[in-house]
């Protein structure tokens, strides 16, 4: 009885996605029809996924199905448990918003691009995502995983006429293949131990593994999932890929696709491995801290709006990793309640980041849609022609900066609390790391705020820089609805955190064998509490209401004053300088200059000034200024590696130099060697 509706809903959603994929592809000649099919079936499927996710979260008893592939080794088994439900729910919310958004967004493709192919890939992406979340054996999981990667790579390279898109798609596909390879090896290791590919047989598998195997398996999974999630130093594909994809896809990529890495870590490390040694958690935690800080630092230096968002995804994944790392450590040290706290921090942040990052990408998409550029240095003043987009983007910016009372704050607060709790719950040497990690989180948060002040202000505020104002237009309604949906979600998840939190209980019960959420809500269900040794309480609901209540008299006061004493518009004072133009404005580069100087060790900024003059250098005709930061990981790690492999490969070509004598010599020598090997006594 309980399984039935879930099964039906799940099956229907799969049908909707795959049917939508085929239907879009078939209708590619009719752009308008393809667009409607693409968005319509995706929306239907997403709603079904959402219902399924909610059902799974609420009813808590996992539902399972299995379909044979013709080979006994490989079966398509699904398990729809609470964890799957949670991630499916996240997926559903985003997919709903993106589908609505796409109704108008895809209109610009009509006549220019093949919407049929887009719809095909888009549906497959949703399908593979839901498969990844519900797969119950390694085989199906890997299929879902790789299909997702390939389809996402296809979508990244959707504007394949553009070289950057192509390269990004390629990089994405290769990195995904590497992470898929790591997972494949990791699963092969687990399967060797358990004797079966079913996840169910992996339960508490860590206990059966030798320490060497456990280390290898952990590192493989960590690499695999970490790469997918975009942690530093495996992140380079992320800022390349997410910006060049169509914006609705970027939203899903950053919102949910990278979360597959998070899902995998939770599924394998917490659900399968059982208790792991605490160095595992420490590694995750430290990598998380590094990713968070470096991610936001790189984001700050970007003036490509979507790249900025992409780097910020790295930051947020780092924050999520902190939570997971802390959860693993707590579990290793036998503190299930604290593990629950940390895990809630991680999963809640996963949910939240999905919401606001997708929202921001959709916002960026609207801007791109309207202005045709991703370069913030050319934007400015968009708040006037695009008020709704600006407002939604602002909500996203506030949320992602972790400012109360929106949702980003809630999950960061949980992260802080779990980090603080770590101080009392772990050994002497590791305990110092926790508050330090907390302070790094503070640094991250503050830098993120700076980053999003920049992102919002340079894009939307002040005077337009190099845009023709009259061409810029507000996005069509469906795009606004899509964004509004997510903006609402950000507010609701923030202010209503205490009402959302009980949804996590089933998942926590599944992962930790304990219902923990009850411990984290007090004060008549209004206050979030970290009932830990170093706990604390916070209520975003009260903060939200408090801000509103305090705002009213202030507004009243100012309105009254303005009525009496006048409120007029005039030219900006600007210290008395007349004629303020957009050239006076602070640019994105200028805004981040101070931080570039402060963190110059990291950025290795480079600047180049060239002046062109006729007679004397004192009278330059033209000055060219160029500045940039060093892409450290590309320059120091990836490019040398790539060069090494390629040059080595080129050298290897000498083997096949065309000489038949050489070819015969290979065989001859092999023959002689093998004969000698064969005659050994």
């Amino acid at each position: 009885m309980t399984m039935l509706p879930l099964g039906a809903v799940f099956a229907l959603s799969l049908v909707a996605y795959s049917g939508g994929a085929v239907a879009s592809l078939l209708s590619w000649r009719e752009a308008g029809l393809a667009r409607r099919i693409c968005c319509g079936t995706a929306l239907a499927g997403a709603i079904l996924t959402g219902i399924g996710g909610l059902l799974a979260l609420v009813q808590e008893t996992p539902a399972a199905w299995s379909v044979s592939s013709g080979i006994p080794l490989f079966s398509y088994s699904f398990t729809y448990d609470a964890l799957a439900g949670f991630f499916n729910l996240v997926l559903a919310i985003l997919a709903i918003a993106v589908s609505i958004y796409s109704f108008s967004y895809l209109k610009e493709f009509e006549g220019k691009r093949n919407i049929g192919v887009f719809g095909f890939l888009f549906h497959l992406m949703l399908l593979s995502l839901t498969v990844v979340f519900t797969a119950a054996n390694a085989f199906l999981f890997l299929i879902g995983w790789e299909v997702l990667a390939l389809v996402a790579a296809g979508l990244v390279a959707f504007y394949h006429e553009d070289r950057a898109s192509r390269r990004a798609g390629f990089l994405y596909a290769v990195m995904s293949h590497i992470d898929g390879g790591c997972l494949l090896l990791g699963f092969a290791l687990l399967i060797k131990v358990s004797g079966s590919a079913e996840f169910a047989t992996f339960h508490n598998i860590a206990a059966q593994m030798s320490s060497g195997e456990l280390t290898a398996a952990f590192l493989l999974f960590f690499l695999g999932f970490g790469m997918k999630a975009g942690i530093i130093p495996f992140h380079i594909w992320l800022p390349a890929a997410h910006p060049v994809a169509p914006s609705n896809v970027s939203g899903l990529l950053s919102g949910i696709v990278i979360k597959c890495g998070i899902y995998g870590m939770i599924r394998i490390f917490l659900d399968s491995f059982g208790v792991v040694p605490s160095w595992v958690g420490l590694l995750v935690l430290i990598v998380g801290v590094v990713s968070a800080v470096l991610g936001v630092l790189y984001a700050l230096m970007e003036h490509d709006l979507k790249r900025l968002l992409a780097y910020s995804s790295i930051e947020n994944v780092g924050i999520i990793f902190m939570g997971i790392g802390a959860a693993l450590i707590f579990r290793a040290n036998g503190h299930p309640l604290l593990a629950g706290l940390a895990l809630i921090a991680a999963t809640f942040h996963t949910l939240n980041h999905a919401m606001f990052k997708c929202l921001l990408f959709l916002g960026a998409g609207s801007v791109l849609h309207s202005t045709g550029t991703r370069n913030m240095e050319n934007m400015g003043g968009l708040i006037r022609p695009m008020p709704v987009t600006a407002f939604c983007f602002l909500i996203g910016a506030v949320a992602i900066s972790g400012l109360p009372p929106l949702n980003g704050f809630v999950s960061e607060w949980f992260t802080y609390q779990s980090l603080l709790a770590g101080y009392g719950a772990t050994g002497r040497l590791t305990r110092i790391l926790f508050p330090l990690a907390g302070s790094m989180l503070a640094l991250t948060g503050a830098l993120a705020a700076a980053c999003f002040v920049k992102a919002f202000a340079i894009t939307f505020l002040a005077l337009p820089r190099e845009l023709k104002q009259h061409e810029v237009h507000e996005s069509p309604r469906s795009m606004l609805v899509g964004m509004g949906f997510l903006a609402t979600a950000c507010v609701v998840l923030g202010v209503g955190a205490t009402w959302v939190l009980p949804l996590f209980d089933g998942m926590m019960n599944q992962l930790l064998g304990q219902r923990v959420v009850g411990h984290f809500i007090t004060g008549n269900g209004l206050v979030l509490a970290a009932s830990t040794p170093a706990g604390g309480t916070v209520s975003t609901a009260v903060i939200g209401v408090g801000l509103m209540v305090l705002l009213l008299p202030a507004i009243f006061l100012v309105k009254a004053g303005a009525k009496q004493f006048g409120r007029k518009r005039g030219p900006a004072w600007d210290c008395g300088l007349p004629g303020l133009t957009s050239q006076n404005e602070y640019t994105s580069t200028a805004f981040s200059k101070a931080l570039r100087m402060v963190f110059s060790v990291l950025y290795q900024p480079r600047r180049e000034i060239q002046s062109v003059f006729d007679i004397s250098p004192y009278f330059p005709k033209e000055i060219r200024f160029e500045s940039g930061i060093e892409p450290t990981f590309e320059k120091r790690l990836y490019n040398p590696l790539k060069q090494l492999i390629l040059s080595w490969s080129k050298r290897m070509r000498a083997i096949q130099a065309g000489s038949i004598h050489a070819y015969l010599v290979y065989i001859f020598i092999t023959l002689i060697l093998l004969l000698l090997f064969g005659v050994r006594p």
Partner: protein, 313 residues
């Protein structure tokens, strides 16, 4: 219950009405120390009143963000003020937000003010916003680390609990971890309130401005809200400092008498801190902007040392 409401009302009133006084006191004291006569301690009230009666000029280039920012700045300051115990260990909003909420709400205000600064399109606004966000970004981890040290000692991030824990352990402030943490938070306070050697509130010189540059385009009521908010923020931070590190006079009871006694103690402590700030301000020169991070780094190291010393000693 009535006492609770009365206490909250009292705290709100102190925040709204007394905060400008301390701004004035610091200004006057500073002038005196520099052997100037300086303005009257109530000058700040007069300024505010005057601003309230002025009309506003909104730059043509600005959007609603420009107008919205002062409200946010002002309300967050008050909301934060209600989370910090002032006269007794009880703070009205303590349950609804601890240290973390305080820091993040302050950041919320700053976030909007920085947007407001950038909204006008003037280069000064951008300059101020950029610097403000930079400095706060580096100040925040130091502050957080130092406050964590205290929170870990108190087993809570809620300020009432922290203050209560401080009260219950007498002479705790002599512990090295507390001293170091105090030093760290104090440096951050200097930075956050825009005082010498980080910023000079008294100057409008392009090269040195931070906070002032950001609000350069504001006028009239908006400027009043911002100035008022700034003075409240300053008082809030000072309160945070004195009441978490020197909780003397804080009573854990909720009686009117206790509140009254607490208030006296509170004023005395804040006054003392103000004097201390003035001393620092007059004996130091303003730092170059790019030396400020070094100062804040010192604060961070102090915070880290504080943390380490909690389990060393």
């Amino acid at each position: 219950m009535i006492q609770v409401i009365a206490n909250s009302g009292l705290q709100l009133l102190v925040l709204l009405l007394v905060a400008p006084l301390f701004s004035g006191i610091i200004k006057t004291l500073k002038a005196r120390l520099q052997t100037r006569r300086g303005p009257c301690v109530f000058q700040f009230y007069r300024d505010l009143l005057k601003l309230f009666r002025k009309g506003m000029v909104i730059p043509e280039t600005a959007s609603w963000i420009f107008s919205g920012a002062p409200y946010v700045y002002f309300t967050t300051a008050i909301l934060v003020g209600l989370m910090i115990p002032m006269t007794t260990t009880y703070a009205p909003f303590s349950l609804f937000g601890g240290v973390l909420a305080v820091i993040y709400l302050l950041a919320f205000g700053r976030f909007f003010l920085a947007l407001g600064g950038l909204d006008t399109g003037s280069s000064f606004g951008g300059l101020g916003s950029s610097r403000e966000m930079t400095i706060s970004a580096i100040a925040e981890p130091a502050m957080m680390l130092a406050l964590f040290t205290v929170a870990l000692g108190a087993n809570s991030t809620n300020l009432s609990e922290m203050a209560g824990a401080a009260v219950s352990q007498s002479w705790r402030f002599l512990a090295p971890s507390q001293m170091l943490a105090f030093a760290a938070v104090f440096i951050v306070l200097i930075a956050e309130t825009g005082r010498i050697p980080v910023d000079n509130p008294a100057t409008h010189l392009e090269l040195t401005m931070i906070h002032e540059a950001m609000i350069l385009e504001y006028s009239g009521l908006y400027l009043a809200l911002i100035e008022w908010g700034a003075s409240i923020r300053q008082l809030v931070l000072m309160t945070l400092l004195v009441n978490t590190f020197f909780p003397y006079g804080l009573s854990s009871e909720q009686t009117l008498f206790a509140a009254g006694m607490g208030l006296c103690f509170y004023f005395a402590k804040v006054l003392l801190l103000a004097v201390f700030i003035v001393l620092i301000e007059t004996t130091n020169a303003k730092l170059r902007l790019f030396r400020v991070p070094e100062l804040l780094m010192v604060a961070f190291i102090l915070g880290a040392l504080a943390l380490i010393s909690t389990f060393l000693f």
